[in-house]
């Protein structure tokens, strides 16, 4: 198996607060292969965005990485010096944020922001940077790019701004793009276009994508594999088709049951009872046990680890413990 582009091992992110330390990510492990699109799903507060922020080294204090390792193409990046990490941001890992209306500095033209980013990472002349910037804008689908490049962000509509944001994230040709809810703030009519643009350009350049979203529809269409987060822990990870069609973790099963599909003839969508626990009240054992329909005694005591399953899947659930032993044997 080739070396993955990104490898996250047992990542722990903690927030020290007055009332004790909150563990927002608890031993999260996953890989992203070269050119792969990994979907990251979960409810709000499950830790999706934190995972992205931890990888790119932009956790908001007092949040900090308290354990685990992050490797980028064989190089460990979670403990890099600030300046070295800065050179990786934008150059090797790009990031697209949720809200295009607030992601761009209102006081600089698109050209200024693009050339600044390009010239930070690549040694080119101002003129060359501008040429690249125009090509990039053209590529992300901004009409009349050579003219509009000198406009300020407020001259663009929301969808157009998100295209500019994508251009900015890709300006220095990163190997990995973390897209944190890139379409949530957008009008439904342009969401698909934005996702397409992002996916196409990344495919063109061979860049991998970590797509953070709570929209399973987007994941189904875009991602190669999907990782499901629950209360800061990975519930399940595997090829997107398998996970959607035959989810194994009861949480994922519930999650899939809540998505309307055209083929499904169900009268009503199922809903998982209860709510995700707050970080200061995560139950012992499996974090999902109070809401789980198939809960066992063991789930309330021991925490299940992420374990390999056939077909390149991994699940953290005691239901598959014996099955796994059988498969091994």
């Amino acid at each position: 198996m080739p070396e993955p582009l990104l490898s996250v091992r047992d990542l722990v992110v903690e927030f020290p607060t007055r009332r004790g330390v909150l563990r927002a990510l608890d031993k999260v492990s996953f890989d992203i292969a070269e050119g792969e699109v990994l979907g990251m799903v979960g409810e709000s507060g499950a830790g999706k965005s934190l995972t992205g922020a931890a990888i790119i080294g932009l956790l908001e204090p007092p949040g900090r990485i308290a354990g685990g390792e992050i490797w980028l193409r064989g190089e460990r990046i979670d403990n890099l010096a600030r300046e070295k990490m800065r050179r990786i941001r934008g150059r090797r890992i790009g990031m697209v944020f949720q809200d295009p209306l607030t992601s761009l500095n209102p006081l600089y033209t698109v050209a200024e922001q693009l050339t600044e980013t390009i010239r930070t990472h690549i040694d080119v002349s101002e003129k060359e940077a501008r040429k690249r910037a125009i090509a990039l804008l053209d590529r992300v689908g901004i009409p009349a790019a050579s003219r509009r490049i000198d406009d300020y962000p407020h001259h663009f509509s929301g969808g157009m701004r998100q295209r500019v944001v994508i251009a900015l994230a890709l300006a220095a040709e990163p190997e990995l793009v973390i897209a944190d809810e890139p379409t949530t703030a957008l009008d439904v009519s342009v969401q698909a276009q934005i996702i397409d643009v992002l996916k196409e350009i990344c495919a063109e350049r061979g860049a991998s994508v970590m797509l953070i979203t709570h929209d399973m529809g987007v994941i189904a269409e875009t991602a190669d594999r999907v990782a499901v987060l629950y209360a800061g822990r990975l519930a399940e990870i595997g090829p997107v088709r398998d996970v959607i069609q035959a989810a194994e973790h009861p949480y994922t099963v519930g999650l899939m049951g809540s998505i309307p599909t055209l083929t499904q003839t169900a009268d009503r969508l199922t809903q998982i009872p209860g709510a995700m626990p707050r970080l200061n009240a995560i139950p012992t054992g499996c974090a999902f046990n109070p809401r789980c329909t198939r809960v066992m005694d063991r789930c309330r005591i021991d925490r299940p680890e992420l374990a390999a399953r056939p077909g390149g899947r991994q699940v953290s659930c005691w239901l598959y413990d014996t099955a796994m032993e059988a498969a091994d044997g």
């Binding site: 800065r86 500095n105 209102p106 930070t120 300020y152 001259h155 509509s157 900015l168």
Partner: protein, 328 residues
Amino acid sequence: MIAFILRRLVQSVIVMLTVALVAFSLFRFVGDPIASMVGQETTLAERAELREALGLNDPFIVQFWSFVARAATGDFGISYRLQQPVMELILSRLPATLELALVSGILAFLFGVGFGVYTALRRGNWLSGSIMTISLIGVSLPTFLIGVLLIWVFAVELQWLPSFGRGDTVYIGDWWRTGLLTESGRASLILPAITLGLYQMTLIMRLVRAEMLEVLRTDYIKFARARGLSNRAVHFGHALKNTLVPVITITGLQMGSIIAFSIITETVFQWPGVGALFIRSVQFVDVPVMAAYLMLIALVFVVINLVVDLLYYAVDPRLRVDRANARH
């Protein structure tokens, strides 16, 4: 753009007319202008004659109009106390006040922005902690007390700097007497400028700090960091520029306050400016000088407001609406 400036100009004229009305009412109703002008031995008939000659029997609106017309040409009459044309008095003292206000304003802005940025970027370190604490005392200290204490320490005890006056001055052109070109003039300026600028500096500093912290939390700063821009570029290119937009307004308005507060500083340091002249006029109910000073301050405020608006316009592209509406 032109429409914007025109609208502002009209507003400014309205403000000036309102202030003129107040100033004129001062003239007309505070004390008796005739009694202030003539001696004890003037007869009642002579007084009535003078009253008629000065137009004091005309309808209010006529009198007001002629007041405005004269004020527009800089004619505010004769000071009751000094028996000199008011405008002459004010013009001879204006350079002193403007030089003091300008230097304090620049000091306040530079140090205010500098300290504000520093304390915002280095939160929790001991130096920014102490700067914040001292600034709290600075806000609570009355301006005149700062001046008196500075005189005590630097002029009386250490004898480094002069305690009053402008030092030597030289003329630039016909009437502008400057202290900036002589050594003693510059030395004399230091303590008053610090006194006058300190309060404004703490205000600007606290504002810059608060705004900067606010801006540093925004998405576009996060995005700038995520693109790997250097700390320098993020802090000074992106964060500071956005911080300065609201700061410009406040600083502009503070410039007006600086001129007003110069009354206090000029009294403490016996600085021969218009503020000290105004205080004297209040003590002696010298109405023409009070009225003229009022108009002068109003003019300064109006001009500063205009300049601030234009600066705002230059810094923030979102305000340049004309282009924005055409697109989308």
